[in-house]
Symmetry: C2
Subunit: 288 residues, 2 copies
Amino acid sequence: MNQPPSPAHPSAGGGLETHPFDQALLMTPEHDGSVQAQAHPAYWNMVGPYGGVTAAQMLQAVLQHPEVLGDPISMTVNFAGPVQAGNLRIEAVPARTNRSTQHWTVHMGQRNAEGLFEISTTATVITAVRRETFSVDDIPKPAMPAPSTCERYDTRKSMEWLNRYDMRVVQGAIPKAWDDSEQESITQLWVRDDPPRPLDFAALAALCDVFYPRIWLRRARQVPAGTVGMTVYFHADRAQLAKQGNQHLLAQASAQTFRNGFFDQTAQLWDSEGELLATSHQIVYYKA
Amino acid sequence: MNQPPSPAHPSAGGGLETHPFDQALLMTPEHDGSVQAQAHPAYWNMVGPYGGVTAAQMLQAVLQHPEVLGDPISMTVNFAGPVQAGNLRIEAVPARTNRSTQHWTVHMGQRNAEGLFEISTTATVITAVRRETFSVDDIPKPAMPAPSTCERYDTRKSMEWLNRYDMRVVQGAIPKAWDDSEQESITQLWVRDDPPRPLDFAALAALCDVFYPRIWLRRARQVPAGTVGMTVYFHADRAQLAKQGNQHLLAQASAQTFRNGFFDQTAQLWDSEGELLATSHQIVYYKA
């Protein structure tokens, strides 16, 4: 049940074909207020779609809702169970609407082999109308070597979704040897969609999940691991996203603790000029 | 509508009276599967209960549910609207139960002045059965001067909830002068319940919200601010909580960015021996 229906062939030359990410964001309204989307084969991971695209779909269900107020401020998405190939039903409900903020509850699910509807993914999303105020980034801007000077990660023979991103590691690449050598859990990489695509909130949400499991780096041991929950705080507004366009952004992740089967990951995504676009956090299952 | 019904008088001498935190966690099952609780006056903030206690009540609604599996791993609580004095209805629904993890959706609400039910708070909670594995804290253990050497924060004449905590600031106290001097946004403090109470998951969740707004420290300016969403990752298991007992824990918070009306806060809570109990994140509204 976990095989995608067919591999996708995105337009490598930047032709007129719809970008695979936009295909994944396509949603058909249903009569009950939910929408239908697809688990997209172009973003296939090992046993289901890439979690970042699932997160983007949860967010998109809110952003395309006729009652949405403002732009996203915060999203928490919980990967409750596997997502199978085929149709997805997403229901986004505005639980509370205030003057300038709005709180959403979102569920994604599918019919299982027995025909029963099962929830695979839960989320909450906060949207808001923002106003310009005193603003300052309060963590140091990272060193930013030009993306062109960093080698592109070779994703051939890898999972399909990795081919949808151009990733250039600055530090903390996947260990070349699984030799149990302990090391820092930090990774920094330049990353953008491939084919390049102008950044929007959904793509930014997806990019927050782009890191391989911190436990692989910390222990140099490739153990089973998977994100259970992810929170994204959106700091960018539309103007910053438009300015960033399709340039590489700098993404950084590290762990704070590994404890009895779950580690946390804290992540920062900066635009090409070193201003924060988003901060993100994960709780990740690992078997070690 | 925002006045608490009456001030509470917790037992200062550690007598037989029920601890105010345990009073706040009291939940009466309703016929529809929801529970009823109270917005507790002993934890009153300016215009509603302390957000940490609201978070603890959302968690407790899951932990006291007959179908709960394991202990909390993660919680995201969104403060969607004000909580008024009086009865609260909390509904916790197990959206998905797996072999060793469980995903919950939680809503809190009240009837408003027009008699209509309004949602004030949304949350998702993940619980899990944990197993002992490779574990390591991956951020530096902070300097920990003995709590007895740090001056207790004087909460007299302050909001009621502040009297429920014994807080001893190590660094980053509330500015003595609101003089717009810019400074680091980090605060470290020793904190425990007052009267002292053995630590449990609900109390740990409440403690994650104990920090005053980072914008007050960063700018030395007391502007309107309030938490919109908070995520808690629980790293402690029951054995670590039991070992900690009612000792002071060390809590640290700092901001990563302040941007157009919302800042993010990242926080760590260590036990008295410097092992992480929880990590936490907030997105906080501010007017500046």
